[in-house]
């Protein structure tokens, strides 16, 4: 196989695939997927230095081929559906359509060559003709526009604008400064741990106001554990977490 063939010569993954099918004199309606996938991958490997933009599209096709290949290797499950669709069907359809346009593009190119043998003339319209501007007749222009129509148009414009605004995201409201600061909570906890040797997570949560307080407290516990400032034990899932301070002076 001629690996010197540059990938860039192909106009895309479908083009490469068609080339391989033609070259191997394969039947487009009965593509030997295992073989073609192997050859396709070989091209891809040879093209490692190809630019990434181009590569990504070729890789999508590679993934598709591999998916088809794996589907075809798997034993066909007996289902109620009388006939399992050939996993290649979609690809064949795409290949045929692409091939059709590719062929048509050659025909168009020939037509362009023929059509190019014709010359035109630049316009030579006298200035006073080309520069003539007709005055605007406002009465005529506004003849079928009423105030209520204008109003309706404005309403529909506004409606469209509302539609454009993402109502979910716009509901998130303003981003406000967090009421619970991790730093404050950390300082509080360090102080607490200096004065208490044994306490529990639930104990800490007593008198906490919000969910955010709880979350931040838990984060601080994790942080202190990581720093070796406390030692924790939880005997069973959902049991209270027992905390032993290593910071008691």
């Amino acid at each position: 196989m001629d690996l010197n063939f540059k990938l860039q010569q192909f106009e895309g993954p479908l083009d490469l695939l068609l080339h391989l099918i033609d070259k191997n004199k394969m039947d487009i309606f009965d593509i030997p997927i295992v073989e073609i996938t192997a050859q396709y991958m070989e091209y891809i490997r040879a093209m490692k230095e190809a630019n990434l933009d181009v590569m990504s599209e070729f890789l999508v096709m590679a993934a598709t081929l591999l998916k088809i290949k794996s589907k075809m290797l798997l034993p066909i499950e007996e289902t109620e559906d009388e006939e399992e669709e050939d996993p290649r069907a979609e690809l064949v359809k795409q290949l045929l359509e692409y091939k059709m346009y590719k062929c048509i593009s050659y025909e168009l190119r020939d037509r362009q060559v023929d059509a190019n043998n014709v010359y035109f003339k630049v316009p030579t319209i006298p200035d006073e003709v080309s520069k003539y501007e007709q005055p605007v007749d406002l009465d005529e222009l506004m003849s079928d526009i009423t105030l209520s129509k204008l109003n309706a148009i404005f309403n529909s414009v506004i409606k469209r604008q509302e539609n454009r605004v993402d109502p979910v995201r716009s509901k998130f409201g303003k981003i406000e400064k967090e009421e619970v600061s991790l730093e404050d909570k950390m300082n509080y906890m360090l102080e607490f741990a200096r004065h208490n040797r044994n306490f529990s997570f639930r104990q800490l949560l007593e008198g906490q106001r919000s969910k955010m307080d709880t979350i931040v407290t838990f984060l601080v516990i994790l942080e202190m554990m990581k720093a070796g400032q406390i030692f924790i034990v939880q005997e069973n899932t959902f049991d209270d977490i027992k905390i032993e301070s290593k910071m008691v002076a």
Partner: protein, 189 residues
């Protein structure tokens, strides 16, 4: 090259060139004698006149140029003066309605509402004298403010923009809710 073919080629050359062309240049391209070309040009010139053709040959010094018969001029003017029908397209109408209700308003505010650029539309409305520049906004970039004109009021037979139909707040609220409903449906997919 027979006379017929030569005339055909010369006709094409004069047509394409537009300007005046010296017979010597044509002779070189055709690889024939200059006198033959001149003879051909003169006979074409006479024939165009006799046949009362719309295109004519004009001799300028020793060059030839293709031009129209002088009778064409009045029709050209008629083509130019053909009453073009100016119409307010959807884009123009939308832009006009925003200016009418939001004035004084800048282009960028209009764009924000319509979601697409409006420069062309605003310019057209100014050209039609339905909209006018009102001065610049005292803001960064000093953007131009636009508003409706007296002509605009006149064409609706109202004396001030206060007379425009009011925007119905209930309706606007409904629009908002609809939009939210649609968004919810979209999220459920």
């Amino acid at each position: 090259m027979d006379k017929n073919e030569m005339e055909s080629v010369i006709e094409g050359i004069l047509f394409t060139m537009g300007d005046s062309v010296e017979p010597g240049r044509i002779a070189k391209a055709l690889e024939v004698d200059k006198s033959e070309v001149i003879e051909c040009l003169d006979s074409m010139k006479t024939r165009y006149e006799e046949e009362n053709r719309g295109i004519r040959l004009m001799k300028l010094d020793d060059s030839y140029q293709m031009c129209t018969s002088p009778d064409i001029y009045e029709y050209l003017i008629k083509i130019a003066k053909q009453p073009k029908k100016y119409v307010l397209t959807e884009v123009l109408l939308e832009t006009l309605s925003i200016i009418a209700y939001k004035q004084p308003v800048t282009k960028s505010e209009i764009e924000k509402i319509r979601g697409v650029s409006c420069g062309h539309a605003v310019n057209k409305l100014v050209e039609y004298n339905l909209v006018t520049e009102l001065g610049r906004l005292d803001a960064p970039g000093r953007p131009m403010l636009f508003g409706t004109t007296e002509d605009f009021l006149r064409s609706f037979g109202v004396s001030s923009i206060e007379e425009l139909p009011e925007l119905n707040p209930v309706q606007i609220e409904e629009f908002k809710q609809e939009a939210e409903e649609e968004a919810k449906v979209a999220l459920n997919i």
